[in-house]
């Protein structure tokens, strides 16, 4: 293991430790359900419009 590998490993450990503390204090939420619904609606509307135009 050279100096670069060691530096990367140490930095990774430092960051993972910081993130674990952050997660305990305020867990990161999953992607909001409302946003997912909006995105799906956007896709569905596009598909429906596409189907109507395609059939026409």
């Amino acid at each position: 293991m050279d100096d670069t590998d060691r530096a990367v490993r140490d930095e990774l450990e430092r960051r993972l430790a910081v993130i674990e503390v952050e997660e305990r204090e305020t867990p990161r939420p999953p992607f909001p359900r409302a946003d997912m619904t909006t995105l799906v609606v956007m896709v569905v509307v596009s598909v429906v419009v596409g189907l109507i135009v395609g059939l026409a």
Binding site: E11, I19, F31, P32, D35, G50
Partner: protein, 484 residues
């Protein structure tokens, strides 16, 4: 920090997770990043290519439908997980494809996709400079002539010099180019409508359509789906720097959907009005000799920065996926190695540039299948939970080691998705099945890849106790039990 140190730092530490204080982009910041990414010279290329198939009204509809679906799927497969965990997407992908599987994807699909885009941008630079020479010096350089090759090679060398100087130089040039292209787009729009009425634009015939109108429309939608998917290689790495899921998702939609369509529509209007799909041909007829030549010089310059930007992110991905071997290759040599194939392709200027539609749909076939696999894995199988430490553990110590570093289920699913695409629409032969006109090829490719991944994971991976899939559920269940 010196430029070479900046590159070395990002190449070395770029794959590490970012902490909350390092997430610097809020909603407005990320909106500008995406608008800058969207309003680039490739938007004009897409507009021109769409005009070769359909008229303005159908083209606009195809752009809206194709980009809405393509961008939404692409964002779910890249932005969401990278944003939540603060990790660039090629590291997150280890949980889907395994360490070796990611390298396989990066060194095949991603490498050739980005090499293709690099070739397109360098040839576009060559053609823009040739047009300036023809206009200012009275030369008559052929669009596929040796001079275009020479100028394209100059673009590659110039982009390599910018790249070798590091990301700070790229950022500096992008700050000039992004607003400049926005001004150019608005200027083109104004010039088009001073010469052409709205009804003339709506009546303009497509440039090189096939006989079947429905096929033309389906191809235009498919092409724009491919354009939406083509953002996938870069989006996750950007989104990890955003502050919240909403600050990642909606700015990306505003930029890659809204701003893209605006720039593409201007390109399409110019192509239909002037009867040529090549953006480098539009500027002089639109702006006159001097203004047109000035616009072409700017387009050429803008292509250099776009070229440097995509090669920068790709070379970082190559370095991170290439293990210890590529980590030790000096940055300028790695970038030079990347440019070998685009350099060879510069000797055949028309090969990709005149077959732009073909190139985008071929890459779309694989990117759509990858997106389907990733969405099934992250949202359905893992329920948005990834073991962050596991992404960085080595060998069998990582739950994402799978079989020798490869998740066979995910790779097979991606292959099946791409095969579905080619069965419905073969970009090479242009053979289509009747279902293509209604379903397109990308959407079934996404669905097949996703369903195949769910089934194959149950059959091959979970039974073998691989992939850490079973770890996701108990964590959720325990937390629920705790609440009860």
């Amino acid at each position: 920090m010196a430029a070479h140190e900046d590159v070395a730092r990002e190449a070395t530490f770029g794959s590490l997770p970012v902490t909350r204080e390092e997430r610097v982009w809020n909603f407005a910041d990320f909106t500008w990043v995406n608008v800058g990414l969207a309003i680039a010279t490739w938007a004009f290329l897409v507009g021109g290519a769409t005009a070769s198939l359909v008229g303005f009204a159908d083209g606009l509809l195809a752009m809206v439908i194709g980009n809405a679906i393509g961008v939404a799927i692409m964002l779910l497969a890249s932005v969401v997980s990278s944003q939540r965990y603060g990790v660039e997407q090629y590291t997150v992908l280890r949980s889907v494809f395994g360490f070796g599987g990611v390298a396989l994807i990066v060194f095949t699909v991603i490498l050739f996709t980005e090499m293709g885009w690099s070739s397109l941008l360098s040839v576009m630079f060559g053609r823009a400079v040739s047009q300036v020479s023809n206009e200012a010096l009275g030369t008559s350089i052929d669009p596929s002539g040796l001079a275009v090759t020479a100028f394209a090679l100059i673009a590659i060398v110039a982009a390599w010099v910018i790249l070798a100087k590091g990301p700070l130089t790229i950022r500096f040039f992008n700050r000039i180019v992004a607003p400049g292209l926005a001004v150019l787009t608005v200027g083109m729009l104004l010039l088009i409508f001073t010469e052409t009425s709205w009804s003339q634009l709506l009546d303009a015939a497509p440039l090189a359509p096939f006989e079947d109108d429905r096929l033309n429309f389906a191809l235009a939608v498919e092409f724009n789906l491919g354009v939406g998917f083509s953002w996938w290689p870069v989006m996750g790495s950007l989104a990890r720097l955003t502050t919240t899921p909403r600050a990642a998702m909606w700015p990306a939609c505003i930029g890659l959907f809204g701003a893209t369509i605006l720039a593409q529509a201007v390109g399409m209007a110019a192509a239909l009005t002037l009867g040529d799909s090549d953006p480098t041909v539009w500027m002089v007829p639109l702006g006159g000799a001097w203004l047109g030549a000035l616009a072409l010089v700017f387009v050429a310059f803008a292509n250099l920065t776009s070229l440097a930007s995509i090669v920068y992110s790709t070379c970082l991905a190559l370095r991170q996926a290439g293990g210890s071997f590529l980590t030790r290759v000096p940055w300028p040599w790695l970038c030079a190695g990347f440019f070998v194939l685009p350099g060879i392709l510069a000797f055949f200027p028309g090969l990709l540039y005149d077959q732009f539609l073909l190139f985008v749909t071929w890459t779309g076939a694989f990117l759509a299948a990858i997106c389907g696999t990733v969405i099934a894995d992250y949202f359905v199988l893992r329920r948005q939970r990834i073991d962050l430490r596991g992404l960085y553990a080595h060998g069998a110590a990582s739950p994402y080691h799978f079989t020798g570093g490869f998740n066979v289920a995910a790779l097979l699913s991606t292959g099946l998705g791409a095969l579905t695409y080619v069965l419905l629409y073969n970009p090479q032969t242009l053979d289509t099945r009747p279902a293509f006109n209604l379903l397109t090829a990308s959407v079934p490719a996404v669905v097949v890849a996703a369903v195949a991944h769910l089934l194959l994971t149950a059959l091959l991976v979970r039974r073998a106790g691989q992939g850490g899939y079973d770890a996701a559920r108990p964590v959720v269940d325990r937390s629920r039990e705790g609440k009860v």
